[in-house]
């Protein structure tokens, strides 16, 4: 597939005959087995130990938290039928539905949630995402080993009630509660089987499906959970997940062996679109591709002019339209499009190219650089086919528009992460996927002292804005603080936003019951297959 696609670059599809059309009927297919692909094999099916996105996709079908994911990606009641929040936004009470069941018949109780959350923050468990519970009172103290596990700010006054105490108003709590590490666990199973509890023969979960079979690096097979409280609404009888790399996914999809691919190579977008038409599905994704700088030393730490110069000299529309073929959107500021939030697009984004380049050159000169004395530096990014063409284009733009000599340098991901921790890199890729649809997940990146603030960006005025937002319980005013904070980042040239990522899937035309959403969490329970001819 690779060789043919890249050979036929100029005339897409001319050397490969089109796949035959698929005819879709109106009724349901007899076999309601969904076959989906994920990017790689989940490291573990234990929700507490979650680290990778493929695992989350599978776990979304297996467990249900207080809240659940709706058809359009929004939060709907899950195990909790209703909830209230106090006036100061810091105390939430959830009322569990009495009919919720585990797959072995036991009722789901509030104790199951308390157990799971304590397990998550307990250092002994070794959960890599424990800090996601930071909004909960006492969570970080426990995770850093300074407090006993029982001091977590959650309690269960009765089997059907859960109370959560938060450090500050956290509007995105409902999204957090649908994440895998916030889902309930069946204590007796884990205590009995220990590390082996995730094996199919011991499996107990409370979601629409249960695990039937796991063959490492081959498939994960799920079947419908008859004891799920809402089993009547679950449409597929069986879901098979195949961990496959992106190229193999394309091949399998075109052969009809999978119906829903989780990804396809960016570089094949045009080609696939011409061959498969509407089966190629893309949409906005809550993630940004950007570069960050080391603020602790030269050349960027001292020179706002240089940071802004590099920012203005990038021709983002060319990157989006020509390099990414329209698949991704240009990013002029940190926060991707979010409902209810006003993106703070800088003024220069709408200038003409000439005006923008002229201003960039002026800033570059003001920073002390010239053709005789150009900027010579390296930009570090993780090794990835999709990254290389973007960075080649970016560095070429800086050379053409400014005369800056920036050398693209790719490193294996883990090596890069280690170098970033040691602050060895002056200019580097700092892409970020939002954990929940709220601006804070992005703005937090530039907060002083935040773990992933790899450039050591520190601005007291900015931190003050975030602190004010944290205490604000009125959503509109909270967003206003965030907007001011984002403007500040733009003015200071804190980072160099490049593109907003897109979610990309291949979907057979007879697969229904799904919708794209910005977090790309498309659960299987609503999906169904129509009868069809052809593959």
């Amino acid at each position: 597939m690779v060789s043919l696609a890249s050979c036929g670059g100029d005339a897409p599809g001319s050397d490969v005959p089109a796949t035959p059309a698929i005819r879709v009927g109106a009724g349901l297919a007899a076999d309601q087995t969904l076959r989906r692909a994920i990017d790689s094999m989940p490291r573990s099916l234990d929700p507490t130990l979650l680290t990778d996105s493929p695992a989350q996709k599978v776990l979304d079908d297996l467990f249900e938290g207080l809240t659940a994911i709706g058809l359009d990606g929004s939060m709907v009641p899950g195990v909790a039928a209703s909830w209230e929040v106090s006036a100061d936004g810091k105390n939430w009470v959830f009322h569990l539905r009495p009919e919720a069941r585990w797959s072995n018949g036991d009722p789901v109780t509030s104790a199951d949630f308390i157990y799971a959350w304590r397990r998550e923050v307990d250092p002994k468990t070794g959960a890599e995402y424990a800090q996601a519970l930071a909004p909960i009172v006492g969570a970080m103290a426990i995770a850093t080993g300074h407090a006993p596990v029982a001091s977590l700010g959650v309690d269960a006054p009765d089997p059907l009630t859960v109370h959560i105490a938060l450090n500050s108003p956290t509007p995105y709590l409902l999204f957090l509660l649908a994440d895998s590490f916030m889902q309930p666990l069946h204590r007796a199973t884990i205590e009995r089987w220990g590390d082996d509890w995730t094996r199919p023969e011991h499996w107990v979960s409370n979601g629409p499906f249960v695990v039937k079979e796991v063959v490492i690096d081959d498939r994960i097979s799920l079947v419908k959970n008859p004891l799920y409280w809402n089993a009547a609404s679950v449409r597929p009888a069986r879901v098979d997940y195949f961990p496959l790399d992106t190229l193999t996914q394309v091949g399998r999809f075109m052969a009809g062996d999978i119906q829903f691919a989780s990804i396809f190579p960016n570089s094949q977008f045009r080609w696939l679109k011409s061959r498969l038409g509407e089966q190629v599905v893309t949409g906005p994704y809550l993630a940004i591709s950007q570069m960050a700088v080391n603020m602790q030393g030269p050349p960027f730490g001292m020179s706002r002019d240089l940071r802004l110069a590099l920012n203005l000299a990038l021709d983002r529309t060319i990157l989006a339209d020509k390099v990414r073929e329209g698949l991704q959107l240009p990013a002029f500021s940190l926060i991707p499009p979010l409902p209810g939030y006003r993106q703070q697009v800088p003024e220069w984004a709408s200038w003409s190219d000439e005006r923008r380049h002229a201003e960039a050159r002026r800033l570059y000169a003001a920073a002390g650089y010239s053709p005789a004395h150009p900027l010579r530096i390296q930009v570090d990014y993780p090794t990835n086919e999709d990254n290389r063409d973007v960075y080649d284009a970016i560095t070429a733009m800086w050379l053409t528009n400014l005369g800056a000599q920036v050398e693209p340098y790719n490193e294996e991901f883990r090596v890069l992460v280690q170098n970033l921790r040691l602050h060895k890199s002056a200019l580097f890729q700092d892409s970020w996927v939002g954990d929940y649809p709220d601006p804070f997940t992005f703005l937090q990146l530039f907060q002083t002292g935040f773990d992933q603030n790899f450039g050591a960006y520190s601005d007291p005025a900015y931190d003050a804005l975030l602190a004010a937002a944290a205490q604000e319980s009125d959503p509109a005013r909270r967003f206003q603080f965030f907007e001011q904070a984002e403007r500040r980042l733009n003015e200071e040239g804190a980072s160099i936003p490049v593109l907003y990522y897109a979610s990309r899937h291949l979907v057979k035309p007879y697969v229904k019951g799904w919708q794209l959403n910005i977090q790309d969490r498309i659960v299987s329970r609503y999906m169904y297959l129509l009868e069809h001819e052809g593959r």
Binding site: M1, V2, S3, L4, V16, P17, T19, M41, R43, S44, D46, L49, T51, P123, K124, T125, G126, A127, E128, Y129, A130, Q131, M140, A143, T144, G145, D195, D196, T198, V215, I216, D217, D218, R219, F242, L244, D245, L247, T248, G251, R252, M254, A255, G256, D257, E412, F413, R414, V415, V417, Q418, N419, R421, D451, Q452, R535
Partner: protein, 299 residues
């Protein structure tokens, strides 16, 4: 005899090289609190000094325990190998068997009939077979037989059902068919020209007895020394075949294990590979002794 020290060197080198690479198995972009990092490291003994980890590893190895996988939590390396090795073993053995039969036949015919068609034709195809890499032939086979004709599945293991084996075995066998054909032809030409064969021919022996009884063994000898390491290599899987066809073998662990810094997994399969090579070379030596009376007589 020399096997144990060799294995020790292999294990040590693999261990050392992997630990020398920057980055660790639990380095992610989203960092975790130090207490949790410490807890994970303690669980996997990554907090111990390197020499202690090494000795601990060797001790476990002596018991046949290859340790836990760092990448796949709550799964042991033994288990990963147990589930993955049969996949590579089946596909690899079938591929080599097919390669021996087809390649051997083609090579012998090419040697016997030195005519344009039966000799140059297959040999040209053989050069093609060796030159075209598997990551081209594999997807090509999928494109033709799965995507366009829908005759065969595009990948997957399915417990080794025959339909699912055909394409991976064919893709893997092609370069070996080519090698073996060329090797057989070369060996056969030499053997057929040798004095003892000419004598047998002069005596009037029928062609079948000539080939099967007298010529076959000397022709097989270079094949055997090629097949020894080839079997070992094929048993530990081909990253490309597994990746293209989506097969759950252990070949890809060489790559993903290194990238994920899954120390135990990589050292485990390296040690396995070393053991297989040693074992198959020994087997090849034994076959050699059986095939060639001169070797037996010498010792």
């Amino acid at each position: 005899m020399l096997a144990i020290p060799t294995m020790l060197v292999i294990a040590t080198l693999a261990f050392g090289l992997l630990h020398a690479t920057p980055g660790g198995p639990f380095d992610t972009a989203k960092r975790m609190p130090p207490e949790i990092q410490r807890s994970i490291e303690a669980k996997y003994h990554l907090d111990e000094p390197l020499w202690r980890q090494y000795l601990r590893y060797l001790g476990d190895l002596a018991h046949g325990d290859l340790g836990p996988s760092f990448q796949y939590r709550n799964t042991s390396v033994n288990e990963l190998i147990r589930s993955g090795l049969p996949v590579d073993a089946v596909i690899g053995s079938l591929a080599l068997l097919a390669a021996m039969l087809v390649g051997g036949f083609v090579g012998t015919v090419a040697a016997l009939r030195r005519s344009r068609f039966f000799d140059y034709g297959p040999m040209f195809l053989a050069v093609l077979g060796i030159s075209i890499p598997v990551f081209v032939t594999g997807p090509l086979l999928i494109l033709v037989f799965a995507v366009q004709l829908h005759w065969l599945p595009s990948g997957d293991w399915r417990g080794g059902e025959v339909r699912y084996l055909l394409l991976p075995v064919a893709a893997l066998a092609l370069p070996y068919i080519a090698y073996i054909a060329r090797m057989t032809r070369g060996a056969a030409i030499e053997v057929f020209a040798s004095p003892f064969i000419l004598t047998a021919r002069a005596k009037g022996l029928p062609a079948r007895t000539l080939i099967l009884r007298h010529a076959l063994r000397p022709v097989l000898m270079p094949l055997v020394s090629f097949l020894g390491p080839a079997f070992a290599s094929v048993l530990t899987g081909s990253i490309v075949i597994e990746s293209v066809f989506g097969l759950p073998g252990i070949g890809k662990y060489f790559l993903t294990g290194a990238i994920n810094r899954d120390y135990t997994l990589v050292v485990g399969i390296t040690v396995l590979y070393g053991a297989l090579i040693i074992a198959f070379n020994l087997l090849a030596d034994l076959c050699y002794a059986w095939l060639d009376p001169r070797v037996r007589l010498q010792s």
